[in-house]
Symmetry: C2
Subunit: 332 residues, 2 copies
């Protein structure tokens, strides 16, 4: 290709060469929007120019506990979709469920004067937020009831209740929950939904064990293996997408098929769950919406017009083929 010159850029945008020249030399008289377009075309055409100086970045810090979990990636896409269109860059720190790292992240963000923080906290990190100097803060996925902070949560109790209800409707009376980590809000509330369902739906506690999967694949796998041998449940409910993987691996290893041997309700609607044979009935959290709302609440705080409300979103069940109806004759 011939050497690109100013007229190529001008032609591509239908503007004058003089305007292109002003923009690329960082002179005034060109709107920021047009300037951006000109930079973009110049870069795309590989035209040599000096990139302009900093534009005074506005930043928001995001803290998540596990970015190998696709749920958090989807929430972050939601957060970023709102913040970027409002001119904010987002810095993400992954704490790996370690509150000490979370403490460092918060301090580091405050030191740099981010405009605000959006956080899914690890266990035991509560005290970190007791004194952050009035910095705008929104929790998502998890929160601390004792802190007077805004949050965007899912109705965890209700969705697990609904999942158990669906199994009971299908004739199941021996249902196992592979729980999450109990010191974490989501672990606790999902377990609570299960114990309420047992109570209200006429199930027997001794037939409906709760085993600890701790939101991790290896621990969910071990717990499920134990549960399958000891309690012989006809149905299993998972409490996170990683838990779901552990349950599936345990079933596979013990040669148990879904749904003929064991019915299963997974968590988070990841793409592979639909492609699984059979496609997996699963709990769907509105992850992207959770992110956009968290960002919107934060922007309101930043602009000095905080809404007083936290938000609790409804999750849904995506019905597929991993739950089998059990006839009366099969029930003990």
């Amino acid at each position: 290709m011939d050497r690109v010159n100013l007229s190529d850029i001008a032609k591509a945008l239908g503007i004058s060469q003089a305007t292109v020249s002003r923009a690329l030399r960082n002179k005034s008289g060109v709107s920021p929007q047009l300037r951006e377009q000109i930079f973009k075309v110049a870069q795309d055409l590989n035209y040599p120019f000096k990139l302009p100086k900093d534009r005074g970045f506005k930043r928001v810090g995001i803290i998540i506990p596990d970015f190998s979990n696709p749920f958090f990636a989807t929430v972050c896409y939601g957060i970023e979709s709102v913040l970027r269109s409002n001119g904010y860059l987002t810095y993400l720190v992954n704490t790996d469920e370690d509150w000490e790292l979370e403490l460092d992240a918060v301090r580091s963000f405050l030191e740099e004067s981010v405009a605000g923080l959006i956080v899914a906290p690890a266990a035991n990190s509560e005290r970190i937020y007791e004194n952050i100097g009035g910095k705008p803060l929104v929790f998502f996925d998890r929160h601390y009831e004792s802190l007077n902070a805004q949050s965007v949560l899912v109705d965890n109790e209700d969705i697990i209740f609904q999942a158990v209800h669906h199994l009971v409707d299908s004739g199941h009376k021996n249902i196992c929950l592979v729980s999450g980590y109990q010191p974490i809000y989501t672990g606790r509330t999902r377990t609570l939904g299960f114990t309420k369902a047992i109570e209200l739906l006429g199930l027997k506690k001794q037939n409906c064990p709760i085993v600890e999967g701790n939101f991790r694949e290896p621990e969910a796998y071990e717990a499920t293996k134990v549960a399958l041998k000891k309690y012989k449940p006809t149905a299993i409910v998972a409490t996170s997408n990683k838990t779901s993987l552990g349950v599936l691996r345990a079933l596979r290893e013990l040669g148990l098929s879904i749904p003929n041997d064991v019915s299963f309700i997974g968590f988070d609607n990841l793409e592979w769950m639909e492609l699984n044979d059979p496609p997996i009935t699963t709990i769907v959290q509105p992850a992207f919406t959770m992110g956009t709302l968290a960002a919107s609440l934060l922007l309101q705080q930043i602009h000095g017009h905080p809404s007083s409300e936290s938000v609790v979103l409804k999750a849904e069940i995506k019905y597929r083929s991993s739950v089998r109806r059990i006839g009366e004759q099969n029930v003990v």
Copy 2:
């Protein structure tokens, strides 16, 4: 529980109350390691104390193009495992394959004086790195040949060659590649491995189509559907984990089973690939190692002892059950 006091913390750690007191009042005479332990126990026991001031954070900026892709999450875990043990916090920015956002991220990081940058660049972002004031920089997964920068890559050409070789060994002569985005290094080099394999393994170009999946699930799905109808390949090779999902969805929708109707080699060894029925033969990148090496190279640069070498890692094939041997009688 009774109110926790200093002696509980001292007892838990087997040290004196005076030491605990000094640490919690941020007085000198306590080693940083012990101080950390004391803070941790105090926090765990919910003992009221003021968190100490900043400790002068050292930071590294990480830039990735798509954090909904689990491959990048694994690399980042590798990066962080090295940097954290060396006292660095890592800030992550997700560019969503947008070089303009990458430009903002780099500028923002430079403005804040990060110690260095670890980057998987988007397409067309080359010029951003031409003048970053000698800031330590390591590329991973992707790089720009024209820039004299260190990088940690995978031998993409070779691993796709090996995948095609495995299919040819199994009797396949009609093989389709669902390619990545060609302006990106990994997209280009994986396609190159395929065209070399056709040439060197005696395949016919017209029987081995390349269709554009662009590393995105929806585009891979569409491209695969077209390829299956038009070319009727006996085997398909994917070029990323998202591409793999698209291929599987297309096969499912057209009612084609793996490996009886079509053999398949996936990309990146995600957990669901092993759990799939049948378990999927897949290309495995050493993602965690890629991260630890990128971090190590960056630390060497930061400490003023750069090694002169970039690194190219070998990928492997994990053999499972998604490739079928085709007998001579079945071959046209």
